[in-house]
Subunit: 256 residues, 2 copies
DNA sequence: GCAAAAGTGTTGGAAATACACCCATGT
DNA sequence: ACATGGGTGTATTTCCAACACTTTTGC
């Protein structure tokens, strides 16, 4: 059944670097940008950081934080740069989500944008927020963004909901010390669900990823809750050893 | 605590289209390409379609199928175009996976590439395969690809393993009519695991996504298996109604 | 009749759910 | 003292994993 291929085959032309180089250059009229969907958590609500569009055409609409990628920076670097510029934060959770490349997605011409999703502690950066052109929005009230940013936001929010059920990302949104109620509120807000308090605690403790700080919250008009922190190294160790998913929180029931 | 913001705030400069336009143009010296990781299934092995690099520097290495994105085609279109050109297939499963944008990832200069993952029935396109520069490789023997294609391949393969446990993608790799053994072989090959036949059948039937064709395979030296096809509409209906995941096949045990 | 894979049910353990009472604090 | 949410245990159900024998075909 196997025939010799050598006779029927045409040897493919091998290109030199410079040939390909000119091919690339003749077609690199496509702009490249990065847009960041920066999530924070405050007042038991999931928030997203938005800015007024700086384009006249979209002047009254909100948009994501984005910028053009510079020719000598890595894609990820660009995302970190934007995040740093707007929030002053380094070393935060940042994940590439999806690239949007429809021809007419941007009014200035062909710009392909790579969307990143970031989770930050909203209280770690009071800085540039006093500019009222930059604002935290309740995710439930995010509508009608500029460009195709609504679609980008929706995609990132969907991804967050999925990822947070499989990995302990939520801790990026909380202060270092938190109560179990804080943690549960976070998950309920993001997943738009209600969970049984006892079962939630059981599940989290079974994962063995919290450190009991032997402290309690204060100034609460009820019995104070114990404070915990996330045990990052323990989680990583578990993830390496057991190939089983250590963190799994799946809830399908909508709230109420 | 809330102070009036109006006095301290500097009104942001609103840019016109043309200002942004020139910003984009001055910085669009970044090439944009698409690379496709095309998976097929044959001889009970998961295969991936590779081509000899057309760059002299990488002349002896295999690489993914890719091309430059043209300024007037959508990103997804570019991926479909590449797939069509190489396999002759339309309307196949294609999914964007990740964008790779390290500054020095490509020798000809700055080229950012968007990786797509595709699943096709390997027997639907005998066409261009006789060119021995284009070849199906057993995924277990994919090493040392050109550029950063090894990393791209690894990322896509990882993604495939995950996605196929949550969605009925496997059917894209099988012929229209298949036996349950075929289906199980597919999953075992992709996930590199062994499953219990009885439990596998039970799980699949519970999902109620197969149509019994009342046919059996023939020319097998043992009792022939029944043939089924995938019931796409039924799956979609289930996915809409119940918000619960209908398709869930999780196996963590390695083979043997 | 024999080799080789198809087809089929049951059982035990683990995990998820549902659910109710006492406790510590601020007012 | 009371209002508020913190903290805990158990019974039930559901899901998953383990497992062995009979059936049908080609040779």
């Amino acid at each position: 059944m196997h025939m010799s291929l050598t006779d029927s085959k045409e040897k493919k032309h091998i290109k030199t670097l410079s040939v390909v180089q000119s091919e690339v250059q003749s077609s690199n009229r496509i702009g490249l940008s990065v847009d960041c969907v920066i999530f924070g958590f405050d007042e038991n609500k999931l928030k997203v950081l938005l800015i007024r569009s700086d384009l006249k055409k979209f002047q009254h609409k909100w948009s994501l934080l984005g910028d053009i990628v510079s020719p000598n920076e890595d894609l990820d670097e660009a995302a970190y740069r934007i995040l740093k510029k707007r929030t002053g934060l380094n070393d935060v959770y940042l994940e590439q989500v999806h690239t949007f490349g429809a021809v007419r997605r941007h009014p200035v011409g062909r710009v392909v944008t790579v969307a990143y999703c970031s989770l930050i502690n909203i209280h770690h950066h009071k800085l540039n927020i006093l500019d009222n052109e930059l604002h935290w929005h309740d995710v439930r009230q995010v509508i009608d963004l500029a460009f195709d940013h609504q679609q980008i936001f929706d995609t990132c929010y969907q991804r967050l909901k999925k990822r947070i059920q499989e990995h302990p990302l939520g801790f990026n949104l909380l202060p270092k010390k938190f109560t179990l109620r804080d943690l549960q509120n976070l998950y309920e807000a993001i997943l738009n669900t209600k969970m049984d308090r006892r079962n939630f605690r059981k599940k989290i403790f079974t994962m063995d990823i919290l450190v009991d700080l032997n402290e309690i919250e204060n100034n609460v008009p009820h019995r104070p809750g114990k404070l915990y922190k996330f045990n990052f190294s323990k989680y990583e160790k578990n993830e390496l050893n057991g190939q089983k998913l250590i963190f799994e929180l799946k809830y399908n029931k909508p709230a109420m």
